[in-house]
Each structure stands twice: as C-alpha cells, then as structure tokens.
Amino acid sequence: MTRGLANLGAATLRQIEELGRMIRFGARIVMAASRPPFRWRAFMAAVYDSGVLSVALICAAGLTVGFVLGLQLYNTLVRFGAEDSLGTAVGLSLIRELGPVLTGLLVTGRAGSAITAEIGAMRTGQQLDGLRMMAIDPIHFVVMPRAMAIFFVLPLLSALFVSLGIFGAYLIGVELLGLDGGTFLASLEAAVEFDTDVLQSLVKSVVFGVLLALIATWRGYSCEPHSAGVSRATTSTVVTASIAILLADYLLTALWSL
C-alpha cells in the first residue's frame, strides 16, 4: 500500500518534471522564432507537409461530419417543429466545438505524428548532434519551422473544416430534405456572433495549435534514440495531444461561459 503510494508519487513527480522540461523547450522555440533569420523555406515546406497535404483529409472529414450533423439535428429538430433552425444548430456546433476539436485531432493523427517521427529519426541518426557540431541550433533549424507551421495551419484548416461542414449540412438539409435554402442561411447568419462564436473558435484552434506543435516536436526531440523509441514517441504524441486538445476544449468552453 505505502509502496504503491510512493510509486504513484514518484510517477507524478516525473510527469511534472517532464512537463517542466516541455515548457522550457517551448520557450526555446519561441526564442528561436524571434531570432533571425526566420527560416522561410523550411517553414513553407513544413506548411506544405502539415497543411496543404492535410487539405483533402480535412475537406472529406468536414463534409462527412456536415452530412451527419445535418441528418441528426434535422431529425431532432423536426420533432419540435424547429427544423428552420437547422442552420443555427449546425453552425454553432461546428464553429464552437466540432471544427476546432476535430481538426485538432485529425491534424494530430496526420501531421503531428509525422513531425514526431521525423524529428525522432533525426535524433536517432545523430543528425541533430551533427547540426550542433556545425554550430547550428537544431531547435532553430529543425524544430521551430515545423512548430510554427502547425501553429499557423491549424486555424486555417479549422476554418476549412467548418465551411465544408456547413456546406455538407446545407446539402443534406436543403437539397435532400427539402428545407428552404434561404431559411437555412438566415438562421445560420442570425445565430453566429463574431465576438463570441467565431472568436471562440479561433482561440480554440490557436490553443490547440500551440499544444500540438509543442507536444509533437518535444516528443520527437526527446525520444529515446532507437527505432522503438521513435515509435513510442509517435504513439505518445497522438495520445497526449488528443487528450490535451479535448481537455483544453473543455476548459476553454467553461471559461467562455463564465
């Protein structure tokens, strides 16, 4: 019993230490980003890898989620004779919650894991040490452009997800179930406020971007230098970042409604 508690205590301490190291690492990324030169080429390449190559996935997922939302919410609303508010219901759930959260989770799986694996492989192959020996800071050269790219693309992808989701729900509600298109859009427009809903959406996707960028690069940078270590780090990125995003979503939602 005491032994169990002691172990639990030690494990908790280790987690807190790890968190401390990760936050210091984050500070080093921020400092690197503010130290010229900004590595535009590497940044654009990372935006391409993490962002552009995720567009198809985000579109497909956004559209599908839009279909499902359109169908589910219509079926619920119609029972109360409130199907005219389909636009409101779909718009608010996508903008406030589903857009940023699902985009965060999808980008974690697609791009976050790839970044961890890439940086982890570079560590394992001593490429990061190789850079150090050339007096090049690997955080500036390798980590910063990738972290900035995630941070930059997540809000954009989230907006794309929301747009496609609304479009999908429109297709279902208007084209399939025969709602009036004008009514759908009017109810959407009337309900969505910039400084509550859109801003909340943006803040969430920015926070998720920071979390994912930090977790994915840190896990790769600090992985055990062998292939099993890289694979563990990659899994850990997906798990940790997903939980972090869901937890942050709850906290932000709660804070917003104070």
Binding site: Q126, Q127, G130, M133, M134
Partner: protein, 265 residues
C-alpha cells in the same frame, strides 16, 4: 625542452568520470591531445571512444572532471557558449550524421550557408573542392540514403572540413572504405595536419594505418587511458598493450624501433 610548448594540449581531459546509469565508462580519465598533431584513439569496442569524442564536442557532459578545448573549460558552458566553441571544431560522426532530407551538395554547403556570406559560385567551388578531396564527384544531387557506407562517410568528412576547423574529430574515418580510399583519406588527413596545422583526433581500428599516421596513440582501457608514441606503445612492457597492437605493432617496431632512443629523455 620545447616538448611542453609543442605538445601543449589542444584538448585536455582531467579527472573525467562518466557513467550511463550503472554502467561506468570512464573513471578518473586523464588525457591530452597535442596541438597540430594527429592523435589516434584506440581501444576495444565499447571502451568509450565515440563517447570521448562526443564529450570533446560538448555533446556529452562528464559527470565529474574537466575538459578543456583550446584552453577553454567546456564543462558547465551554456549551449550558446558551446556553439562558439564548436565553430572551431569539425566532427565526423561514426554514421556520418548527414541530414537525410538534403542532397549531398546541400549537406556539405550547409555550414557555409549558415556561417558565411559566400556567393553561390564560391560555395559551389568550395564544396566541390572538398568533395573531390575525399574522392567523390558527380554525386551532388544524391541523397545520403542513396550512398554506400564508405561514400557516406567520405561525404560527411567533406562536410566536417568545409569550414576549415582548428580541431578535427573523426570517429572511425576508415571503416567501410576500400583500400584505395583508406590511403586517400589517410593522405588527406596527413596533408591537412601538415599544411594547415590541423589538430586531428581520430578513432580507428585500422592498426597499420593508425600506427603510420599517428604522432600519438591513446589506448582506452580500464576506464582510463594509456598513451605514447606508436613506437613506445609497440614496445610497451605491458603485454596486453602489445597484444592489442598485434602483428602490425610488432612490424612497426621492427621498422621504427630506433626512434625510441632520443624520443625518451
């Protein structure tokens, strides 16, 4: 007489101890690598040769002890201060450590792009000069993954010397090379040492080559180090040392034994 000045340690370790977990690698290690000389670090595998090179590069911090590179204490330096020191070092890693997403040309050009304002033409000229010095041509566009082990190592050596460092650390520069390329790299390192006064520290298992090119051999064993000129070690009274140098050591002694008189005062 001038022995001390000439042989002043460009790199010096004093009382260094290092353990990975419970596995002790060094205990009270003292060694020095003379300025402008070629030192060869030997020892069975797992004795810590690569680890010692990594410590000299500031990549591995000793648990206790002091490490001085070009007169500067390295233990306790911040990453930013280490960076300045590393500008004077070139390092060839055992596995090459080239960036695998960049072509060979871009890999060798990288330090020049980062630390100089040379024009594209000057960069190309320098990079091709270094690549041909290590016997590589027409491989500019290849990725490191498309090279053989020996080519990879030579490309990495080209990268390590492209900034004309003061101290060159080479981890196993000869392994995986065919005999003509062993001679080529030996000649290149000897040339850089003789003409540019480069301090060369290499680890190697190539006994004959090492004995031939080394001014000094440092043999890692028992978590410490024994050092001497090739002739001194080859004639050591310690049979374990003679055994380690093997047939090549005996042959070397037969040809160079006379150097022993005079060398030892």
């Amino acid at each position: 007489m001038t022995e001390v000045d000439e042989e002043s340690g460009h790199v010096e370790a004093r009382g260094v101890a290092l353990a990975f977990g419970r596995r002790e690698i060094f205990r009270d290690l003292d060694c020095r690598f003379a300025k402008g000389r070629i030192s060869v670090l030997m020892g069975g595998s797992g004795t810590g040769k690569s680890t010692l090179l990594r410590m000299i590069g500031g990549l591995q911090i000793p648990d206790v002890g002091s490490l001085r590179v070009a007169g500067q204490e390295l233990v306790g330096l911040e990453e930013a201060q280490l960076k300045a020191m590393r500008g004077r070092l070139g390092m060839l890693f055992q596995n090459g450590a080239l960036l695998d997403s960049m072509s060979v040309f871009e890999n060798v050009a990288l330090p020049l792009r980062e630390h100089t304002s040379l024009s594209e033409t000057e960069i190309a000229e320098r990079v091709h000069g270094r690549l041909s010095a290590v016997g590589l041509s027409d491989i500019d566009e290849l990725l490191p993954g498309e090279l053989s082990g020996g080519m990879l190592r030579r490309a990495a050596l080209a990268r390590a010397i492209v900034m004309e460092p003061e101290i060159l650390l080479c981890d196993e520069p000869f392994s995986g090379l065919d005999p003509p390329n062993v001679s080529r790299i030996e000649a290149l390192l000897t040339h850089l040492n003789r003409d540019r006064g480069l301090t060369v520290i290499i680890t190697s298992h190539h006994m004959a080559t090492s004995l031939r090119m080394a001014h000094r051999i440092l043999l890692l064993r028992n978590m410490g180090c024994v050092d001497g000129s090739p002739a001194q070690l080859a004639s050591s009274r310690d049979s374990a040392i003679r055994e380690f140098l093997g047939q090549d050591g005996a042959e070397y002694l037969a040809h160079h034994g006379h150097e022993l008189e005079g060398a030892e005062g």
